[in-house]
Structure formats: structure tokens, C-alpha cells
Amino acid sequence: MRRYSGMAAREARLALWMLIPAFLIVFAIILFPVFTNFWISFKSVKLGELRPPSPVVREQVVKQPEQPGDELIIRYRARNTSQNVALENVVMTIIVPEGLKPVDVGYDCSFRGSRLVCNFGRWKGGFNKTLEMRFEAEQSYFSENSGKGKVLGFTIDASAPNVLTNLKFTLKNYGFVLSGREFWPTLGATVVYTFGGTIGSIILGLFAAQLLNAKFLGKGILRGLFLFPYVAPVIAVAFTWSFFLDPFSGTVNALLKQFGLMERSISFLSERSFNIDLFGLEINLPLALSTVIAFESWRYFPFAFLFILARLQAIPSQLYESAEVDGAGAFRKFWNITIPQLMTVLTTLFLLRFMWTFNKFDDVFLLTGGAAGTKTLPISVYDNAFGRADIGAGAATAVLLFLFLAVFLILYFHYSPEEQ
């Protein structure tokens, strides 16, 4: 190892200190959770178990002492919040006011000063009992007004196993997810959605960039306009789309009917498939999935557009000029100069958009909620974890999603032409 001189070591130390804040946050919120997700996927955790089980005790005074020598009877309704996880070392500490003497407290209790410490030991899951305690009231209990007529103060403590940190592992989650009837169709829909959304947004972006790669009045405004779908909040545009595509009162359906393009309304977002009769050829279009892909292409074409436009403007004009001298037309120039020049940016865009679309949750969730054949893997993660309240199965789905993406990336880098 190279040894660092004093200056260099100081500099390295300074760099370390400067990097620590960013590193800590990213580690805690991104790297550590990725590991945790992997961990949870091997555990049987239900949504309701996330909150650790705790003892709950309600105090009720059954009988108040009237005069010295009488008994104070208190009833405690005690239960374990969890139905199946046991609580260990349940300890209740009751603060006993002056003038009360425990008569029959039953359990393993001991008096320490003014506190009565009761050791209940283990409460099984679903534990639910009524405990009764009797105290004898002495003269001083009545002379001191503070304690009389009130319930006693208490605290209760227990140790419960944490579902996340224990060391019980299972493969059940993976078995459940992989054997589910929905898994493979979901993967299929994810792949179609990802390819469709990626290619759609890149093609639209390519066309838009071609349109704006010229000097004309109002170009700056158009460029700004074209970015609208990308910068607007997803929740606003998704709700707007589902509103104007509505089959009953939506504007799009009304316009299609008015211009005579359609005879009946189409539920763009809730119809699984749609038959098109194209010159006698029956085509079965997965309608909701296509609509979601159209939305995805619409929303993200500005991203591709900006990258492609920036690259287009950097293509040296001599290339086109010499092609023109050789008599090349516009299409030849596009195929033989523009496309090769754009190849790097197009492959990068494809990679980025593919990954992001593959992981996309919000858009599909807000448009269809995963209904009508649009359930993608991220939606399935959510459905398993929160819809079915099975955190473990959700985490297993997320791990599978991660693995599929990793396999894709490996294939991509293995087969893609030389990168720069």
C-alpha cells in the first residue's frame, strides 16, 4: 500500500469528513434498506406485526373503602395486543398511596417503598385476563385526600421479540410468490409495459427533437411546453388522464363519438382487451395496458426529447453539407448521419428509461391500480405487502424484481456494442 505523507493523509481525512454526511444519509435510507428488504423477504412478517406486541392494562376500582379497615378492590383487565406473539418478563409497577396495605394481591408481588412490583412472567399470545387486587385502607388513607377515590397509578413493562430482528428465517414467501397464479402474467405485463413505455417515449422524443432542431419563431416557448408532462406532478396528470378518458362522461369518448370515429364508449383504463377489426383482421389489443403505455410515453418523452435535442445540436453541420453535395435526400441523411450520431445517446436513454419504467409504481397505481391486466411487479410488491398485509411476501416480490432487473442489466451490458 502506498504510504501517504502528512499533507496527503490530512487531505484524505478531510475528504472523509466531508463525505460522511452524504454517505450516512444514503447508507441509512438506501443501502441499508436494500439489505433489510432482502432480510425481510426471508421472514414471515405480517403488516400488523410490525408494531411490536405490548401489554395493555386497564384499571377499574370495584369497591371504595368507606372507613378504616375497609378494603379497596381494584380490577385490572390485562391483555396482550398480539394474538400469537408471547410477551416475556411482564412487570407491572403500581404506585400505592400512603395508608393502603396490600391484603391479597395473589401474584408474585413485592412491596418496595411505596411501589408494588408485580412479576407476571410470560403472557402468551392472545392473553386476556382480569386480575383482582385487594388493599386494606388505614386511617392515614382517609386523612390524606390526595389518594382517595382515585385509581392507582401504574406502569407496565414487558419484553417482546421483535419480528424484524429475530433470527427465524423461512423460504415460504418466495414459494408463495412464485407459485402464485398471478406471478408470471404480472412479469409478462411488466415486460410489455417496460418495453412499450421505453420505446414509445424515445420515439416520441426523437420526433419532437427533430421538429425543434431548426430555427424558427417561438422555438423556446415550444421547448418549454414540451417539457410540461415531465415536470408536472404525477398525481395531477394521472387523475386528469383518468378523468378525460372516463367511459361515461369523458371528453375523449365524447369527441371520438362526435367525429364519428367510434360508435360506443371505450373504457380505456378498465377494459382488459379490445378487438380491432382491421381489414378483416381481428387484432386483440390489451386496452388498459396500451393506455398505460401511452401515458408513460407521453409523460416521459420530454426526457428523451431534451437529451436527443442536445445531441442533435452538437452534430457538425459539415456532415450534412457533404451528404447534400453527394445528393442525399432528407431520409438518407436521417438514416445515415443522424441516427448513427445519436446511437450513443439512444442506447443510454434506452437503458435509463428501461430501468426506471421497470421500477415505476406511481403511474400505473394512480391510473388503474393494477386492474385490467396492468398489474406490474412494483404494483404486485405493494399489493402483497399492503393490500394483503403480508410484508414478507411483498419483500420477496421486491427481491425478485431486483433480480430480474439485474439479469436484464447483465444481459444488456454483455450484448450491447462497445460503450465509450
Binding site: 433489510t36 428488504n37 427533430q210 421538429l211 415550444l222 411546453l225 408536472a232 405487502a385
Partner: protein, 421 residues
Amino acid sequence: MANSVSKALIRRRFPSFFGIMVMCIVGLFSTIVVIYILAFLISILSPTEARVSIGAVFLAGVFIGFSVGFLKIYSHNSLLIGIVTGFSVGLIWLVVYNFRPFGFPEPESRNIIAGIITFPLSCLVTWKALKDINILRPERGHGELLFIRILRGFGMVFFVLIVLFPFYFMLSSSLKSRAEYLQDPTNLSISIARGLNQLFVGYTEVLNRFHFARYIFNSTFVAIATVVLTLIPAILGAYAVTRLYFPGRKLLSSSILLIYMFPTIVLVIPLYSVFSQLGLRDTLPGLLIVYAAMTIPVALYMLRSYFQTLPRDIEEQGLIDGCNRGEVIWRITLPLSGPALATVALYVFMIAWNEFLFAFMFLDTPEIFTLSRGMVTLNSQEVPRQYLMAGAVIITVPIMVLFFWFEKYLVSGLTSGGVKG
């Protein structure tokens, strides 16, 4: 002799078959574009519906192409003549089609105005499309050139339409009651006939009864706090990566963006679980730290790219003059990186403002809802769609205003970092 000369002249003056085809096709496409755009605009901006007869458009288009093409051959100051032709075509149309170019119910001034606008406009578009093209003897490349022009025309219309229509729809339906909307779903015009109070009822309801005023405040707070929480570690980190030497620098520098690629949905379950147990889930600090972590990698990457372009000499001069690193960053590096900081800050603001997934998963207490989370409460059967759209406008407008204000920065920022979406 004289006969053959005049024949040659006529031949030179008369377009070939191919030339006539070109004129007609260009005229046809231009007319179709113009008429259908106008019909669409009339449909959505007025209570009347426009029905266009396809056959009539076809005839008019061919006629316009033909006349504009010939005028172009025989006259040099044809713009005026083009408009005159347009008027005459319009007149013919009005007579033949019973004064109803867009199928408006009865002959009224609107029909005539529409006719007067439509046809000269078609002529002008045809004229533009035929520019620089030799109609008499079209050359080899001209067909291609025309095709591209037609494509460009359609493309422009298409893109402007798909980009603007959803936003216009959002705005107009936020100003319409359910009854008004159902009465004519294709009418998206904004009418102030019922008075301003009724017009903006969606906004007042959403802001007051649905507490959006509070959510605006929350969202603003979250977004600004995220910017601060992101910028500080990102500036320090980017500076360390570009200016200081330490083992593992190259590796770190190249793995920053890799972190950015992690699927967000993979983080949701563990963060939900752990934050629930730590009691951080339904809190704004919990949300803030997640947002900061999501934006730090890209912020660091963008700042790193920018710091690399800054000259080192000035900083070194500062160090020699006795400043320490902190002073150098504060007094020299940061003032020089104004534009980059603005870009990064805007992006982080935008991401935090627009974020939906974590806000949706984490926040349960209405007092701390952000706008994204608050929008979900409007998406129910009991709440009129008008309110939902008013909410959509409320959440969209601030980001659009910011965006237009700083468009220059944002464009450069998008391409330098590639903001995840």
C-alpha cells in the same frame, strides 16, 4: 416555327402530371390539418359541436391545392391572390354546403367567420408547403421534401395538442360543475356567466374545506427543507470528490449514479417497517430524510460535474492566501457555482414537491399531509371531480411557474444529471 415555340412555352408553363399530383396532395393535407384543428378547437371551446364532412374537405383541399399551385406558376406576387382564392373557395363552400362549414345548426355569423378564416388559412399553409418547389417539373428530392414538410406540420400539431390538451382540460374542468360538464363533455370553454364565486367554487372548497391551504404550506416546507438537507451534504461531498485526493476516489465517483438506480419500490417495505418501529413513519422529519437520501446522489453528481469545470487556480490562490477549506468553499467555490446550485435546488424542490409514493405510504395524519398526499383524499366518489381537478391545478401551477421562470437552468440540469422519473 412560332407554333412550336409557343407549344414549348405552354409546356414549360404547364405542370407535369406529377406536378399536379403534388399540388393536389399538398392542398389536401393542408386543408385537412387546418379544418380539423379548427373543428377540434370549436368543439372544445364552444358549446356548439363541429361536424366536418370528409368528402367536402377532400374536394376543397384538392381545389385549393390546384388553384394555389397554378397561381404560384403564373404570378409572382401570389400571396394576395392566394387569399383571394381562399375567399372564393370559402364562398363556394358556403353556397354548396348551405352556409355550414362546420355543420353549425343554422346559418349565422359564426359560420361565415369560420368559413372566411378556414380557407384563406388553408391556402396560406399550402403556399408555405409548396415553397421552393418547382411544381412544373418537380425534381427527385422534392417528393421527399414535401413529405417531410407534411410530416412536420402534422408533428407540430400533434405534439402541441398532446402536451397542451391535458393541462387545458385540467384547468377548464376545475371551473365547471358536474352538471355543466355532463351537459356537454366536449365543451371545455370557460364561462363566467355564473359569476366568479361559482366559477372558483372548486378552489375555495378545496382550499378551505379540504385543508389544501394547510397542505400547500406543508408541501412548501417539505420541499424547501429537502433542498437544504440535500444541498449541504451534496456540496461537501461533491467538493471532496472533485478537489481532494483520497483512496477510493475514482470508485466512489463512479458509483454515485449507481446508487441512484436502485428501485424505489424496493426501499418502500423496509423503510415502512423500520420507520414504523422507530416511530418515524408518520412524521415530516421521516419524510424529509427519505427525500434527501433520494436526491443526494443526483445532486452530488450534478454538482461534481459543475465543480470539475471551475478553474482550480483561484481556489489554490485562496489557500495560499491563508483561507482554510471551509472559507475557500464559502467564499470562492459557492459564489462561482450560482447557476449550478440554482439548477440543483430547483430539481430537488421539484422532486420533493411532486413525490407521491412515500408521502402516500408514510403520512396518515391530515395535519402533516403534503399536497400529493392530500390529493388522494379528493379522489373519491363523494367528492366532485371539479374539486379533484382544482386540487390538480393547485399542485401543478407552482411547479409550472417555477419552471417557466427558470427554464434555462432546468434544461441544462435535466441533461447534465438525468433526473429520475
